[in-house]
């Protein structure tokens, strides 16, 4: 039945309780008082009373269960009901004085009134008992149910034994034995008051007041309901058993709140320390949550300084970050910016010790720093805790007291814990900043790559005597490859292939510059060697010492098939004539070298007469230096071999074949340099 009642919903519990009380009420109107003349009626009366209040207790239990996290609320409610009980008892005692006989001849109306009174009293008593249950379960880690239920069972047994005693005086010893056990159980259950420790100081003071009042009220109510009093008579008529239980409840209330009073009293001196610890823990938890939610470090810093001030009982707290040289004041609480800055600098610069561990500065040491301060606000104690991430100090959290209570080790630990949180937040903010920065950089790189594509010719020139194929595959980063074609008039075609040393944005910038230089110089119709000399003159001035450019510049006469070209440090040119592949490497230093010797003298020009089906291949080292998983390079030999064996119908096919070979070779490794491949094929038979 108990588990059944526990499981049904609250509305139903109320209805059942209402029915039970209704039955009891009707019964009571008909048979107002118990009497030992009719045993059956007596037993029936007790049965109905016990059942109806038992059912009612479940409704109360449910209500109190929802308040179990607010012990003070439960106690206040219990206190009010105890007060109510006390008032009722007092009023009845005064009104009816000793005139018990009045009840024997009472009419229906007074019966009803008395019954309602009894209802109210019994309900209050049961409610108080259930409130005790709520308190009893509070903050209990072990399951204490068995103790509590044993006590309740003895309450009920005690109630039943009262009836036995009244009916048969010989059963007196049973009642007494049960009574003694019940009192013992009450004592045992009364010492379970651990929940008091978790109350705040203010709540403990409130509890102190309420508990002494409840204790006293319970005591007085108990004494005025002892057998012989008016009240006892009234209740006894209602139900002898319930009267006994009510008495026990009053005893329980008196003892329990007596214990609560003294426990609260003894907890009072440590209450403040307990409060502070609790506050510290809860603010730590709040901060931990904040760190993952708030991306704005300054906002978080405000919270950190505010909580530090509060939790460490300080008058001021401020947070500085250690930048490469200076200290950067991020947030202040309870102190001016200028003063905080001056103090932070004074301490960090003067303190000889490494401030890698938290430090408390005594008043004597402090006076030193503060005398330098234009507006000294003599702090009596100062605590400095470093913000450490991966063993590196990224800043300091300061806390200061102007009262004459120096910081102790506990304070130091707390402030240091806040500093750790601040360090975490700094690191977090930094990482977020970095990822935003990285995203931005990646976007910029995309733009740069797009520009690089636009700098290169969109299509190869069309020519009746010459097939031209050009291919450019950028590496992930932007690079410095460049190729171009120039129409020079007189059926002459200029071409250039160049590679800027290094990679990334800087190489791409140089590449753009190189494009501009070749574009304008090509229009002067100069010899290839002369063009490269002039390019070198210009680049020498603009490039830094470690950057250089390799290039080949050439001119093809599309009428005659005469190819003139010069090389400035660039990879060898491959040419296939009559099935034989040759490497052409005319001397020439890379562009931008200013090594003291004359670039102009180093550079030579080569002239080749192209015949039908002759193929010329220009490329950048992205092809020859592409690596496989064993870090072997593709190399020039492989390229030569492909060219030698090639019988493709078109040079686009040849270009594809080369790229397929390179890709197959380097599969499993990412392309780490731009690849440029330019192929010419002379297709005129004259």
């Amino acid at each position: 039945m108990i588990s059944y009642l526990d499981n049904i919903d609250s509305a139903k519990k109320m209805i059942y309780a209402f029915y039970a009380l209704g039955v009891l009420f009707v019964f009571k109107v008909i048979y107002p008082a118990v009497s030992d003349t009719n045993i059956t009626l007596w037993v029936l009366n007790e049965l109905i009373v016990f059942t109806s209040f038992f059912v009612l207790s479940f409704s109360f239990d449910e209500y109190l269960g929802s308040k179990s996290n607010y012990p003070i609320t439960i106690i206040l409610t219990a206190g009010i009901l105890t007060g109510l009980l006390f008032v009722i008892v007092s009023v009845i005692s005064v009104i009816f004085a000793e005139d018990v006989s009045y009840f024997d001849s009472a009419g229906v109306i007074s019966n009803i009134v008395i019954t309602l009174f009894s209802f109210l009293i019994a309900a209050s008593g049961i409610f108080i008992l259930m409130a005790f249950k709520g308190l009893f379960y509070l903050r209990q880690k072990k399951d204490p149910a068995s103790f509590y239920y044993t006590m309740i069972i003895f309450f009920i047994l005690s109630g039943i034994s009262t009836s036995l005693k009244e009916i048969d005086a010989g059963m007196n010893y049973v009642h007494d034995a049960i009574f003694v056990v019940t009192i013992l159980l009450i004592l045992v259950n009364s010492v379970r008051v651990a929940w008091i420790a978790f109350l705040l100081k203010k709540q403990k003071i409130t509890l102190l007041g309420i508990s002494i009042i409840i204790c006293a009220l319970s005591g007085i109510t108990f004494s005025s309901t002892l057998s012989g009093s008016v009240f006892y008579e009234i209740l006894f008529r209602f139900s002898p058993g319930l009267t006994n239980i009510l008495n026990l409840i009053m005893i329980y209330g008196c003892i329990y709140f007596g214990v609560v009073f003294f426990t609260a009293l003894f907890h009072l001196p440590t209450a403040e320390a307990f409060d502070r610890k609790a506050q510290e823990v809860s603010s730590m938890m709040d901060l931990g949550k904040l760190i993952t939610q708030v991306f704005d470090f300054r906002e978080l810093a405000e919270t950190i300084t505010t909580t530090t001030t509060k939790v460490s009982n300080s008058d001021a707290a401020w947070l500085v970050l250690q930048n490469s040289e200076a200290l950067d004041l991020v947030s202040v609480n309870g102190i001016g910016y200028l003063e905080a800055d001056a103090l932070a600098n004074a301490v960090c610069n003067t303190e000889n010790r490494d401030l890698t561990e938290p430090v408390i500065l005594a008043p004597a040491a402090l006076r030193n720093y503060q005398s330098k301060n234009p507006n000294p606000n003599f702090y009596k104690s100062l605590s400095v805790a470093p913000l450490k991430v991966h063993g590196k100090v990224s800043g300091y959290l300061f806390a200061a007291r102007s009262r004459d209570v120096p910081y102790d080790e506990e304070d130091k630990k707390a402030i240091s814990a806040f500093a750790d949180y601040a360090a975490l937040a700094v690191e977090n903010a930094k990482l977020i900043q970095e990822s935003i920065e990285k995203e931005r950089m990646e976007k910029e790189l995309d733009v740069a790559r797009e520009i690089q594509y636009k700098i290169l010719p969109r299509e190869t020139p069309k020519c009746e005597t010459l097939d031209i194929s050009a291919l450019f595959i950028p590496a992930f980063e932007v690079g410095g490859d460049y190729y171009d074609f120039f129409c020079l008039g007189d059926k002459k075609l200029g071409f250039v292939i160049a590679d800027v040393s290094g990679k990334g944005i800087s190489a791409a910038f140089v590449m753009a510059e190189v494009k501009g230089i070749f574009e304008s110089l090509s229009q002067l119709n100069l010899r290839p060697a002369e063009i490269l000399r002039r390019v070198n003159e210009i680049l020498k001035k603009s490039l830094d010492k470690k950057t250089f450019v390799t290039a080949i510049y050439g001119i093809i006469d599309t009428n005659t098939g005469i190819l003139n070209f010069s090389r400035a440090g660039h990879t060898p040119t491959l040419i296939r004539q009559n099935g034989t592949v040759q490497k052409l490497t005319p001397p020439g230093l890379g562009l931008g070298f200013d090594g003291g010797i004359n670039f102009n003298d180093s550079i030579k020009e080569l002239e080749i007469k192209l015949n039908f089906n002759d193929i010329v291949i220009l490329y950048t080292d992205g092809i020859t230096e592409s690596q496989n998983e064993l870090n072997e390079e593709f190399g020039l030999n492989r390229l030569e071999k492909i060219l030698e064996e090639d019988n493709s119908a078109s040079i686009d096919r040849l270009s594809n074949k080369i790229m397929t070979e390179v890709t197959t070779f380097s599969s499993g490794k990412s392309q780490h340099d731009d690849i440029t491949l330019v192929i010419f094929k002379w297709i005129s038979k004259n």
Binding site: D499, S501, G502, K503, G504, D544, K545, K546, T547, F548, T550, G569, H570, T571, P572, T585, P587, G588, L589, G590, F593, D594, G595, G596, I597, S602, D621, E625, N631, E633
Partner: protein, 115 residues
């Protein structure tokens, strides 16, 4: 990442830099630091031993260009030795033999300074 190692040792009045592994855009700063330290110490006679170098990229080549002038301005030089053929070919293509002295053996390069 490909590994790269630098070891600098004194041989008489000359300093020899031993290069190990892969010298590319990522590892070039290590070599730059080594040169900077030598210059700070007033040591301008340098032989670079390429015996254990497996790979050099264009960024690696640039480092030598960046420092040779300083060395020569201070009556020193950067000389190369023990270069394998594949590495030498890269230097050769760029025209380095016109600017630098290459030696088969380290002691030849060192002796060239002391002669």
């Amino acid at each position: 990442m490909a590994d790269f190692n630098i070891n600098v040792r004194g041989v008489g009045s000359v300093d020899v830099i031993d290069l190990h592994g892969y010298l590319d855009a990522h590892t070039a700063p290590d070599l730059e630091n080594a040169f900077n330290r030598l210059i700070n110490d007033g040591k301008y006679k340098v032989v670079v031993n390429f015996d254990h170098l497996k790979y050099i990229s264009s960024a690696g080549l640039g480092v030598f260009m960046a420092y040779v002038e300083t060395m020569r301005d201070n009556k020193g030089d950067i000389k190369f030795s023990n270069m394998k053929e594949n590495v030498y070919n890269i230097f050769d293509l760029l025209g380095f033999p016109m600017l630098y002295e290459f030696f088969e053996k380290e002691h030849e390069a060192v002796n060239k300074f002391t002669d």
